[in-house]
Amino acid sequence: MLLRTELTLLLRARMAMFALILVALLSIAAVAAGMAEVARQRDVIARIAPQQERDLAAIASWVDQGKDPGNAAYYSFHATWDAPEPLAFASLGLRDVAPYILRVRALGLEAQLYDGEAFNPELALPGRFDFAFVLVYLAPLFVIALFHDLVSGEREAGRLRMLDALPGRARRLWVRRVALRGGLLYAALALPLLAGALLSGVPVGQCLAVLGLTGAYLLFWIGLTLLVGRLRWSSVANAATLAGLWLVLTLILPTVAHVAINQAIPVGQGVELSMAQREAVNRAWDIPREETMTRFYAGHPEWRNSPPLPPAFHWKWYFAFHQVGDESVAPRAAAYRNGIEARDRAAQALGWVLPSVGVQAALARLADTDMQAQLAYQDRIRAYHQTLRQFYYRYLFTDTPFGKEDFARTPRFPSS
């Protein structure tokens, strides 16, 4: 009976009703938009196979005439992709700016790995409209709207003294009201998310983690609102203070931290790496070919017994200097990656202090759409590229003809 009356009381206040409906609508829209985007990305990935097929078939029919494995290795591009995890709809993370499909060939990888995808930067600039956005940015505003006058509103309406004069059990009134408002807000936010998660086939453990994260973030803001409420200021002062806190916690501090982190942890510009790789690769044309081969065989003794280079051009030398070029910049590549990881770690660490950052990071981690996921994708490309090289080297270094049927044997990118 009490809860029902509390509910009546809450819902008859037009603003509360409006706020709850709005939250539910925003959450539904965000989940729907996220799911549409994930479906689109899946669709793009599904479209790869037939097109690749056609492309490789055309190359195969031409290479088959001369059966030179070098031509096959040089002209064939192989598709790699990073399919979205089921939960990706909740937090699209970096997936709008980092490629999730990339074609590579058996040449130097460092010149291919950092290529981008075609995207409109003006659309990426404001960020995507996904559940993470609704939760991190908008949910606190609704917490503020629903909770800022929890006690001060009663005081301003002149009821507080009367409520306080009621015997002890009445004090549970506040617990009940907080629970009711918090519960409804949580439901409005989380139910659409849960529906989306079930539709997307998100594993139970992840579902619970996201729901828990959502609850924890709401609790943080509710707690903050109640703390400010304890200062016994007016409702207006509460609302203004809380909006100010929101501004600082979700907009100002993260942007300041971004500047600080990028200043504190310089990453050797990626372009430096690319330029060094180019020098290493192209230098091969100007030094004795044997020098390159010696370096190559030192690192890859399994091909040492390959016949010596003929006076004319031979593809195995070409691929050898690409390999050597990659290897000569390996320390730079590692340093570049470490720099990025260090920045990412710093931001994660900041998440323990700044809930907005923490929740954003945790959501993107759960959804596997963050920087770590990007780097993991790069690792998979590296591994695949390695198998590609091995595959072609078997032909190149043994002068085995490469025919149409060998195209069918080319290793495919493993679907994770």
Partner: protein, 480 residues
């Protein structure tokens, strides 16, 4: 002294005596200055890095030894997009686009190594720039300072008292607006001074700078009017504050986020993989340079032989392989241009749709204006891509032409041990390849691109100002 200025003075005095308001104002000014300084030093560092890399790339290119020209086509060149002077105020999409490009023959590479892919997730929270402070945070301060301007008078009953004493509601509203507009001007002033300092001598950019100043002034004025409107409409100060916060969240935070999603869904952009495959297919359809019987390349050969009046390619006064390279690059380049134009068109349609949301949110309109005038919008990036492609084409063709003119056909096809040395031409030729010089958009282009946004903002301002009239009438009724 008129009633309006009396009311404005009183309102300003009240704000001055409100310690929280003064502290908030001071913090915003500090934030603006910090943002300006950070943005400026960041932009300087970027400019310095890119200039250094550009110089290094040019030096390395020129330092290449004697080579076959086609080796240089593959050696290629790195170019960097410099930042315009206004980028420190509004860097726009700079962090989201790659700012360096590797240019080589037969291929069109992407611009790589944008900040967004080598920074932490924090970059997605926005960047602390003067533009961000003015677009997002300044309206919030105006809301805090002004939500009670009229609502407070109504709530405390002083409104009635004033009306009874013969002050008209119109004067009251005008006075409150005047006070808030003065505050808005004070908020915008430090940003504009910083803007002038970091942009340096306006020179040719005076026009775009004026548009930016005008645009931000109109934006802040618009928010001042909106705050007064809502304050006059609501019965209680708290209602006014909540309504304004909701409005701010929708106009400044929500709509700019929703618009890109709608635009991206309305106009699908083909992926690079699909474009690459499509280009390869088109090339195969055109002809196969590896096939001696290919009709397209046979026709080209006949044309060349006819042109020089010989019957065998060996007898041509120029290297046929070089001619073939020139022709091949021309073909691929045309395709690149076609596909790039298509991609640009889709992106332009996306951005156009998104800019249309400027009719719903003045922040979108301002952002458009600001980036366009600063030359840091999509057009600015496309400008770079187009110039990069033009430069790539010219550089590759210059090298291909060198192959045709400076390497003999006999040497080029020779396979003997000494052939490699004979194919090489002097390194002096590399120095003859001009360096890449990015031509920034002329001020008139920036101006033209920023005018629609400005127009939209002014329409917003005009409508909001007109809405003050019925609102003043509404306030007048409080007498009864």
């Amino acid at each position: 002294m008129s009633a309006i200025s009396l009311i404005a003075r009183d309102e300003l005095r009240l704000m001055r005596r409100n310690r929280v308001a003064v502290v908030a104002f001071a913090l915003l000014v500090l934030l603006t200055l910090a943002a300006a300084f950070i943005s400026w030093s960041h932009q300087r560092a970027i400019a310095e890095t890119r200039a250094r890399f550009q110089a290094q790339a040019a030096k390395e290119f020129e330092a290449q030894p004697d080579r076959h020209p086609h080796r240089m086509v593959h050696y290629g060149n790195f170019i960097f997009r410099p930042l315009g002077p206004l980028a420190a105020f509004d860097p726009g999409v700079d962090a989201y686009t790659g700012n360096s490009m590797f240019l080589e023959g037969h291929r069109q590479n992407t611009a790589n190594f944008g900040d967004v892919r080598q920074s932490s997730l924090l970059i997605r929270f926005g960047q602390l720039t003067p533009a961000f402070v003015l677009q997002v945070i300044a309206p919030l301060l105006l809301i805090f300072l002004g939500y009670g301007a009229v609502a407070r008078e109504r709530e405390r009953g002083t409104l009635r008292q004033m009306l009874v004493q013969g002050v008209s509601a119109r004067q009251l509203v005008a006075g409150k607006l005047l006070a808030l507009a003065a505050v808005a001007a004070l908020i915008g002033l430090p940003a504009m001074i910083a803007f002038l300092l970091i942009a340096g001598q306006p020179d040719a950019l005076a026009g775009p700078m004026a548009v930016i100043a005008l645009g931000y002034a109109a934006y802040l004025a618009l928010w001042a009017v909106i705050v007064i409107l809502v304050s006059a409409m609501m019965r209680r100060g708290r209602d006014a504050l909540l309504a304004l916060l909701a409005l701010w969240a929708v106009l400044v935070i929500l709509v700019p986020r929703v618009a890109p999603d709608i635009a991206a869904n309305a106009h699908a952009l083909p992926t690079r993989l699909e474009t690459d495959i499509a280009i390869q297919e088109d090339l195969r359809r055109l002809g196969d340079s590896h096939n001696p019987d290919d009709p397209f390349f046979t026709a080209f050969k006949q044309k060349m032989l006819r042109q020089y009046g010989v019957s065998r390619v060996e007898d041509l006064p120029v290297n046929y392989k070089g001619l073939l390279a020139v022709e091949g690059e021309k073909l691929t380049s045309r395709l690149f241009d076609n596909y790039a134009d298509r991609s640009f068109a889709v992106q332009a349609a996306q951005s156009g749709l998104m800019n249309g949301f400027g009719m719903i949110s003045p922040t979108v309109a301002l952002r458009r204006l600001s980036m366009a005038a600063a030359g840091t919008d999509l057009d600015g990036h496309h400008r770079f891509l187009e110039q990069a492609e033009a430069y790539r084409f010219a550089m590759v063709q210059q090298l291909n032409q060198l192959q045709a003119d400076a390497v003999t056909y006999a040497d080029d096809v020779a396979q003997d041990a000494g052939a490699d040395t004979r194919k090489r031409i002097s390194a002096d030729h590399w120095q003859a390849v001009p360096e890449f010089r990015f031509q920034p958009a002329p001020a008139s282009d920036l101006l033209r691109a920023s005018l629609p946004g400005l127009l939209l903002l002014l329409v917003w301002l005009a409508i909001a100002a007109l809405a003050l009239i019925p609102i003043a009438r509404h306030v007048q009724k409080a007498r009864r």
